[in-house]
Amino acid sequence: MKQAVILAAGEGQRLRPFTVTKPKAVLSIADKPILGHVVEALAQNGIRNIIIVVGYKKGQLFDYMGSGEQFGVDITYVTQERQLGTAHALAQAEAATEDEFLVLPGDNLIDADTIAQFVSVKPEAVLVKEVANPARYGVVSIDGDTIKEIVEKPEEAKTNIINTGIYAFTKGIFRFTEAELDIPDALNSMIAQGYSVNAREVGGTWLDVVYPWDILSLNDAVLRQIPVSSGGIIEKGVSLKGSVSVGKDTVIRSNSYITGPVVIGEGCDIGPNTCISPATSIGNNVVISPFTQIKNSVIDDDINIGPGSIIQHSIIDNGCVIGAHFIASSGAAEIKIDNEHYVVNVGAMLGEDCSLGNGVVAQPGVIVGNYSQIQALKLIGGRLPDRSLVV
């Protein structure tokens, strides 16, 4: 298996506001788009011929991935003009595929080990996983090694085995992608016509991102494996504990205390007297002012965080400018997405280019739309649409 088709055309509406301007496959996890992690895992398995099916906001995806050079792979792009389904997306790549190839979603985090275990299986095959809560996935019923049926989001799941959306196919699959829009339906009709489709369960990391707070668990999983490296300037009196990776031209100022796993990008200005606690990713060109504490959070690029702030379990997208004494503490929050209620333990989620005055307090679970402006000393909670003005 030398080729992989990555499906990255999807929008990810439930991930708004983070997916208003970019596809979910480029959401940043540990300073790299999810898709970048997927491509790296493939490259480690010698799969360097990569086809990426793009659609929604493809520009940002091109900007990150380019021709694949930085990942040591060769990328071909095909466009799915309308996002009709996974089988339809795959069909766009037909002309570019070899006899056998892997298919992966561009927005699922998968590690190299998982792929290594899966590539030996004979196509057509589905990578399956046993999960505690199968209802949001396609549930797979199995007979020995072969699949009997895949049922999408059943009201009552018969098994805990679910379809990860990772497949090994031959060109034979394309006979079924014309009539069906989604791959599980195509596989069901394949099975109905007497073809055998294998199921392979493997260990290793596999996480998907569906809701905004999922970004935190993916970030945590990736950070567990990061190596220690330091390209920046570490001033006197700084403590770096555990795995801490610091990018070039970043300066960590005196008396800052950083406990890994933590990733800090390039050109940042951190501290003095700043505490960064485990499972935190900080992007490029970020300023974190003195006496600020950040824990289990994802801070993207070009962000300025004022002094004396406390940020826990939070996600802050590119370009936000945050004043002094911002409080984003975590706690159990009830969040409504697509008319469903979820209770999660999370801090604040800020879209791109928000500006917050001094002393803003965010209630757990607040989702602030892109380009919002919050004046000083405001208490914010719930969901604020894009371009909100809180005065």
Binding site: G59, E69, V251, G267, N284, D302
Partner: protein
């Protein structure tokens, strides 16, 4: 501008030459050709694209050859004027980039001596001169021939039955790519990156003899060694990476270009502020030079210098500067050239140095000629720019100017701290402009129906109006003029009407009131107004027919977001009109002739 290529090695030369020529296409050209020395001498050339040449040319055998893309200067684009050019015997072939000033007198003399010329080009005299001086040693013949020539050149000479290539340069770029039992010669690095990243930059008056496993460089008859450089960027960076055109890809790279620049230059707020103490006390004035887009960056630099440095500053067109240069001692000259090879800028740099001043060059190409003749070079971090219409290199030049002006700044520390604070947000602000692409596309469709467009701006955004007009005319072929908003009523008003849209760049600074008045004046002449304005500028929304919004930034950074919006407008207008965006007609990437 003309591109030249040479190969000598063990592989069949034809596919390599054609592949390299395709990589040189971005320089702009109208004709192309190749010559190979195998068992016989084989030449194929025409006024066609490289892709057509690859299909039309017969399969030539041979492991040594030369190729050329021509951008016409002497003689129209035609098969006979295309390079390579041979001598009377048909055994010597030459490809050339540059201009031979005394070719007419040389040509008359050669004709009088019995030489027969096939083309109207200046280049052909080189082939005949070499033939005239050839007495069994090709290198000597080339050296003697070049002594008779006045002008600029990068040449490769190929002779039947002589397994080597002779190369020479003067005022035109030329590099040698070092391979394994093979060597490459090219006008610039992207042409050969598929084969090697080991490069030697030749200097003026160098003569090289290239074999498949040796490179000998002579200067004034002495063998010298030229340093080998490793190119760190790769061929893939010069690929489109999913985008339909290089121009769009390069526009989209700009947030990263700005971020990379920031990461390298201003990691520390106070360090940048500290630079103020290192500024040269002897500098009494600043002169900024450039051509085309770089001149627009120079003009913006003038406003920045006024705002931040506070000493007398002027921006000049490099091509005009030489005619009136005076009083250059105690002047710091900043020369802007993306390629570092622009002939007019090189001449101006030399002139400025002769005048006794210090010259700082801002260039995007490491090892370029400009960087070697200047006192100091600031390299912009734009990466290779392929699109003929400059986009990211312009923004990178602006970033270099911000950095330079902040280094020399005499503004108070608080103002500088504010600027630095805001500078860090600029990549995200530019990304916001890009994310607004679909909206700009709609305005572009509207604009594409017109044949005449005016751009107006005031203050620091006056050069942006010029740049917006330049981009539009370059890629969409719409006649576009940029004006200082106050100048419109001194003449161009006569041209305004319902079929001449005016694009007005509006910023919410001291120029706002005057600009709103200008828009009213224009509207009363029935000309439709598209305003480019910061979000939340209500006065403009009421006045203008259409508004393209950009994020609000400090006035000193408004040229960055405004230019990016106008780049997208030009791109999508050209796309809607079906223009060959990356290779506009008659244009060349770096203009290596005067």
């Amino acid at each position: 501008m003309c591109g030249i290529i040479g190969y000598i090695g063990e592989r069949q030369a034809q596919p390599i030459l054609l592949g390299c020529l395709a990589k040189l296409e971005y320089r702009g050209y109208d004709s192309c050709g190749i010559a190979l020395a195998g068992s016989s001498f084989q030449v194929y050339k025409d006024a066609i694209r490289v892709g057509e040449l690859a299909k039309a040319s017969p399969r030539f055998q041979g492991t040594i050859g030369i190729g050329h893309t021509r951008w016409a200067t002497h003689g129209e684009p035609s098969q006979t004027n295309a390079h390579p050019h041979c001598d009377c015997t048909g055994k010597i072939a030459v490809v050339h980039n540059g201009i031979i000033h005394d070719y007419q007198s040389l040509k008359q003399q050669l004709i009088a001596e019995g030489h027969k010329f096939a083309s109207e080009t200046d280049t052909e005299v080189i082939s005949h001169l070499i033939e005239k001086h050839y007495q069994g040693d090709l290198e000597k013949a080339v050296v003697t021939a070049l002594r008779e020539i006045e002008g600029s050149y990068a040449i490769i000479v190929l002779m039947m039955g002589d397994p080597k290539l002779i190369v020479a340069r003067k005022d035109s770029p030329l590099i040698i790519g070092i391979g394994d039992r093979e060597n490459f010669i090219a006008s610039d690095v992207p042409a050969i990156l598929d084969y090697t990243n080991r490069v030697i930059y030749l200097e003026d008056d160098d003569i090289g003899v290239i074999n498949s496993n040796s490179i000998k460089v002579r200067r004034n008859d002495k063998i010298i060694s030229r340093e080998e450089h490793k190119i760190l960027w790769s061929a893939a960076q010069a690929q489109k990476g999913g985008y339909e055109h290089f121009m769009l890809k390069e526009i989209h790279e700009q947030p990263k270009v700005i971020r990379d620049t920031l990461v390298g230059w201003v990691p520390l707020t106070e360090e940048a502020t500290d630079c103020t103490t290192t500024s040269d006390e002897n500098v009494e004035s600043i002169l900024i030079l450039g051509c085309g887009t770089s001149y627009h960056a120079a003009m913006i630099g003038k406003y920045l210098a006024k705002e931040l440095v506070g000493i007398p500053v002027r921006a000049e067109l490099a091509a005009e500067f030489s005619y009136h240069s005076q009083g250059l001692a105690r002047t710091m000259t900043i020369a802007l050239t993306q390629s570092g090879e622009t002939a007019d800028v090189l001449i101006a740099i030399r002139r400025a140095k002769e005048g006794g001043g210090k010259v700082i060059t801002i260039s995007n190409v490491v090892g370029s000629t400009a960087s070697r003749i200047t006192n100091q070079t600031i390299y912009t971090r734009a990466g290779p720019e392929i699109s003929v219409a400059a986009t990211k290199s312009f923004i990178a030049q602006l970033m270099a100017l911000y950095w330079l002006m902040m280094s020399y700044s005499k503004a108070d520390a608080r103002r500088l701290a504010d600027i630095l604070f805001e500078l860090r947000q600029i990549p995200s602000k530019v990304q916001q402009v890009l994310d607004n692409e679909d909206n700009i596309l709609e305005h572009a469709k509207y604009l594409s129906a017109y044949e005449n467009v005016f751009f107006i701006g005031r203050g620091i955004n006056y050069p942006v109006a010029l740049e917006g007009a330049l981009k539009l005319k370059e890629v969409s072929y719409i006649h576009a003029e940029g004006y200082a908003a106050g100048e419109l009523k001194h003449g161009p008003f006569a041209l305004l009407g319902s079929d001449t849209p005016v694009i007005a760049i509006v910023t919410q600074d001291s120029t706002l009131k005057a600009m709103l008045t200008n828009i009213k004046e224009i509207k009363s002449r029935k000309a439709p107004v598209i305003a480019l304005a910061e979000e939340g500028c209500e006065a403009v929304e009421e006045l203008a027919n259409e508004v393209i919004t950009v994020p609000r930034v400090d006035t000193v950074f408004s040229p960055v977001v405004n230019t990016v919006a106008l780049q997208l407008l030009a791109y999508y207008t050209a796309k809607h009109r079906g223009c060959p965006i990356d290779f506009p007609r008659n244009l060349a990437k770096s203009v290596t002739v005067e």
